[in-house]
Symmetry: C2
Subunit: 111 residues, 2 copies
């Protein structure tokens, strides 16, 4: 028997946006806390993504994690771990290809 | 005592869009049946709105009415009664002023 060391992937598996329905993306965005997360993450350049600890939310850390999970599962955010920090970014270009204008217009209205 | 005859208003009272939050509009749109209603209604010119009976939905009449109520309460649709028929239209211009691009981009992606 060969035991293979498990290594933690640096990128959390994320859904293929072709498998995500418009209603699912809208559902994920349809919450004040998640809109606030998307707004704060969207305000950062891709080259300098926001780490979880930098998010300023009015909810507990566990509630924040729950909302981050919903955004990730709907294909709205991408999460990368570097050392002990988790960085969040928007899958802006992919979302724009799949649902043109939706994320951008929501970001403008949520600003 | 004076009795005043109650007349049914031709326009159902609708919310002021300034009182409707972005999350509420997204929540109302975040459902496959409601997206389909919005798509069908949006395909009709304002001068020739769709009547309820013309909507082709895969759900029962009562379920359809429930979804229409949610869209109306979120300020997405306007309902007018003419005789025995109820006509549905989108509050497109008002939504565009309040949440620029949101409804239009959703309509494009739902097409």
């Amino acid at each position: 028997m060969v035991t293979v060391a498990q290594t933690k992937p640096a990128h959390k598996p994320q859904p293929d946006l072709d498998d995500v329905a418009l209603a699912e993306v809208l559902q994920a965005l349809a919450d004040p806390v998640r809109l606030e997360i998307v707004r704060q993450v969207g305000a950062c350049p891709d080259s300098d993504p926001l780490s979880c600890g930098q998010l300023e939310l009015s909810v507990s850390k566990s509630t924040g994690s729950h909302h981050l999970k919903i955004l990730h599962q709907a294909g709205i955010t991408s999460e990368r771990e570097r050392g002990t920090r988790k960085f969040i970014s928007l899958r802006r270009a992919e979302l724009e290809r799949r649902f043109p204008g939706v994320l951008d217009s929501v970001l403008r209205s949520a600003a």
